[in-house]
């Protein structure tokens, strides 16, 4: 708990100081090329940018503790109103991509590991690895060509605003979700496959088979649970990435999520917008590793015994 709190505080301080060290500030970003020194000075005065960085950090922290995420100079809007819809959009995208990628990866990994000679299995394996190694924007462009131009079933880019309703947003989610799913699919599929390959040679599987257990039962009751723990960890890392690292895919499909906002906010020196995004990212990674630990504990009886 103390460690978690410490991580949040030090990341906030580091980000604050880091943004402050970059050339320019929110006022030069707002006023741009033709902002006269007088106008920039006036703007800095108005937004208390002339205070020392420690004072500004303190003020910000005080506001956050009181539930106020602050105000964006560049966008002339409350930070909560900017960031929250984006977090919702990114979370939706991540959930859809995760549902597409992870269950199918586990099933595919299990079957390919069990039946390595199968042609379909090999084809899926190769495709997955190719998708994993290609840059995201290449996959995105290929998918866009196939599903928006040649066989037009999905809208090619997102044309609804960031605060659109879920129903308005949903049609636009499939293409970016498919792209992200293609990127992460092979990681967990291959971890699963590697696990199955080693585990099915182990004595307890052998003994199950000798006992005459049905092959389906061996696969689901004996091999699957033993192969899952490393996959859970892979999935946790990938799921965290789906929530924090998707800016390339967002840009290609004009999807209005957190990634795009983070990049814009950094170039705008918009500290108040950057900080919640950075802290959200940290929260996601911590939560995911916590969940992974818990799931692995549930799956692995040895860890339970250890505890008691």
């Amino acid at each position: 708990m103390l460690f978690t709190l410490g991580a949040f505080v030090s990341l906030a301080v580091l980000s604050f100081l880091g943004i402050d060290a970059l050339p320019g500030d929110g006022c030069t970003a707002l006023l741009g090329r033709f902002g006269t020194p007088a106008k920039v000075a006036e703007c800095r005065e108005e937004h208390q940018l002339t205070d020392p960085v420690i004072v500004r950090l303190g003020n910000w922290a005080n506001d956050v503790v009181h539930g106020d995420l602050g105000y964006s100079i560049k966008r002339d809007e409350q930070v909560a109103q900017i960031v929250l819809p984006r977090i919702r959009n990114t979370a939706m995208l991540a959930v859809v991509a995760a549902l597409m990628a992870f269950p199918s990866a586990i099933v595919a990994g299990l079957l390919i590991g069990r039946y390595p000679q199968s042609r379909i299995g090999r084809a899926i394996n190769t495709l997955g690895v190719v998708a994993m190694t290609l840059p995201e924007f290449v996959i995105a462009t290929i998918l866009w060509l196939v599903f928006s131009i040649w066989i037009p079933i999905f809208p090619g880019v997102t044309v609804v605003p960031s605060n659109a309703t879920v129903v308005e947003l949903l049609p636009h989610i499939w293409m970016p979700a498919l792209t992200l799913a293609a990127v992460v699919f092979a990681h967990s599929m291959r971890t699963m496959k590697a696990g199955v390959t080693t585990i099915q040679l182990m004595p307890f599987v052998e003994s199950a088979r000798l006992r005459g257990t049905k092959e389906r039962v061996t696969l689901l009751r004996h091999i699957l649970p033993a192969a899952l723990p490393p996959v859970v960890n892979t999935i946790a890392v990938d799921a965290a990435w789906l929530l924090t690292g998707t800016f390339v895919t967002e840009a290609v499909f004009n999807y209005r999520g957190l990634g795009r906002l983070a990049i814009d906010a950094i170039s705008d020196r918009d500290t108040a917008v950057i900080l919640p995004i950075v802290l959200f990212g940290l929260g996601v990674y911590l939560t995911m590793s916590l969940i992974a630990d818990m799931v692995v504990r549930l799956l692995d009886p040895r860890l339970k015994q250890h505890r008691s």
Partner: protein, 501 residues
């Protein structure tokens, strides 16, 4: 067994549902609605206040009108002003306004609105970018409800062209506080939803004084990335891209589906040399640096073949009546001789700063570096971070890349080249040039004035510290269902005449 059946039904239902959702989200062309792709130019800071530096364009031109517009040849034509005249020394102008025009909220457009609008444009406290254009106006006064008088600090023959600036729009009295997000104009379209990072929606102003618009609605959809905007057009999710990179226009080669327009513009890049630094204080060095390069090759390399029109260090663009065309062929021997005369017989080493803050800025220095090698000019390219370029490099280093948008001759020469101009990037003080500028703008006769402006550009070619190799040609692309957009810069497009079939 039952469980399985339920599962199957659920799966099928989900698949059907998502297919349905996918198809209903697939917007296609609707007759009477124009969907324009817009870039996120100011990253969320956009405002509808036309006088603000972060004005969102071209949306402001759909909602508001100018006093004076321009036709296809950039000749001033009546918009909200029906006629205009000046006194003999061109320092006082009287404008007669159109009667019976109403703002979108039903109130009458009168001389008071003109006085209010122009006072905001020229207010030194507010310091609007429009002040760089119309700063010659010292006072504005309403003679009666439909006549205004403008008093200038100097004679300005081209005041009508300056008033045709795309930001010199008329806003209602006392609208400053609300206009940014809830604009009320007289223009062909009314604001319904303003969402600069999402979709802005405008509806037709049925009572528009130039006639009811052909379209019922315009949607302006923001794209943070130009590639995704191009994808949207290819996938029939938008109808119009205001500009695309000339090099990527080939994906819209299907003439049955898309219309490509190439539009000469007044946008330019340049390399600026500070005249308060050695060796650029020497006029011979400056000229050598400018004549050592082949401008056509640079334009082709930077913008793509056909992407630009050669300029002989003049900021006056091709469609401007005062344009001077050169000659300015590459002259390696001449450049060497000038350098030798200035004390650099073995050539010269210079550093030029650039940045990818805007497109073409890095390519320009790279092409220039290759071009001037033969003349013994050895260029070292210095890269600056995009975010610090305008604050820390531009106007501050000894030599740097520059970029400007289109402006009429009278404006650009006074805004960039005049000794006292706030944004004169080279720091060059040229009293002779200032006198020539004053003389030209206060000359009444058009032919004489044109001669004077041409003399100014010849003077620049001999003395200037700005290497200005080209004006850019823009490429606009739209669905072939869009009619009524002439191949001219967007400032002169009449939005009420556009239709989508």
């Amino acid at each position: 067994m039952q469980k399985k059946t339920i599962l199957r039904v659920l799966t099928v239902a989900m698949l059907c549902g998502s297919a349905l959702l996918a198809s209903c989200g697939r917007a296609t062309t609707v007759s009477g609605v124009l969907r324009v792709a817009n870039d996120a130019g100011f990253g969320g800071a956009e405002t509808m206040d036309p006088y603000d530096g972060n004005r969102t364009w071209p949306t402001i031109n759909m909602v508001f009108d100018r006093l004076i517009g321009v036709d296809k040849d950039f000749t001033p034509i009546p918009e909200l002003a029906l006629s205009w005249s000046s006194n003999d020394d061109l320092s006082e102008w009287t404008l007669v306004l159109r009667e019976g025009v109403k703002f979108h909220d039903g109130s009458d457009f009168t001389a008071d609105d003109v006085v209010y609008s122009i006072n905001r444009m020229i207010d030194p406290e507010f310091d609007s970018p429009v002040r760089a254009v119309l700063g010659v106006i010292e006072a504005v006064e309403a003679i009666d409800d439909y006549t205004v008088k403008l008093s200038l600090s100097t004679g300005e023959a081209d005041l009508p062209s300056l008033l045709a600036d795309y930001r010199a729009l008329m806003t209602p009295v006392d609208s400053q506080a609300t206009i940014g997000k809830k604009p009320i104009g007289t223009g062909p379209f009314k604001m319904k939803t303003f969402d600069p990072e999402g979709t802005t929606v405008l509806v037709a102003n049925e009572d528009y004084f130039f006639g009811k618009p052909q379209l019922s609605m315009i949607e302006i959809i923001t794209f943070a990335d130009s590639q995704s905007a191009a994808q949207a057009l290819a996938g029939d999710q938008v109808d119009l891209l205001l500009s695309i990179d000339g090099k990527s226009s080939s994906i819209f080669g299907d003439t049955a589906k898309f219309t490509l327009q190439t539009i000469p513009s007044g946008d330019w890049n340049a390399i600026d040399f500070r005249v308060d630094r050695h060796p650029f204080d020497d006029v011979r060095v400056r000229k050598a640096l400018r004549i050592a390069a082949d401008r056509q090759i640079i334009a082709d390399a930077v913008l793509g073949v056909g992407g630009g029109v050669v300029a002989c260090d003049t900021p006056v663009w091709t469609a401007d009546p005062y344009r001077w065309d050169g000659p300015c062929a590459k002259d390696t021997e001449g450049a060497k001789a000038l350098l030798a005369e200035a004390g650099f017989p073995d050539g010269i080493d210079i550093e030029i700063w650039t940045s990818d803050v805007e497109v073409h800025m890095v390519e320009l220095v790279e092409a220039y570096q290759q071009q001037v090698k033969d003349a013994g000019i050895r260029v070292i390219i210095k890269m600056a971070d995009a975010s610090g370029f305008w604050d820390d490099v531009w106007m501050k280093e000894s030599a740097f890349v520059d970029s400007w948008g289109q402006r009429p001759a009278a404006q650009v020469l006074n805004e960039v080249y005049r000794s006292t101009a706030a944004w004169n990037p080279t720091g060059q003080v040229d009293v002779a040039l200032d006198a020539m500028l004053d003389d030209a703008r206060s000359t009444q006769d058009l032919a004489q004035r044109k001669q004077k402006y041409i003399a100014i550009q010849e003077h620049l070619f001999e003395n200037s510290a700005i290497f200005l190799p080209y004006h850019k040609t823009l490429t606009r692309v739209m669905s072939s269902k869009v009619q009524g957009i002439d191949p001219i810069v967007i400032d002169a497009v009449r939005w009420e005449k556009i239709s989508v079939s």
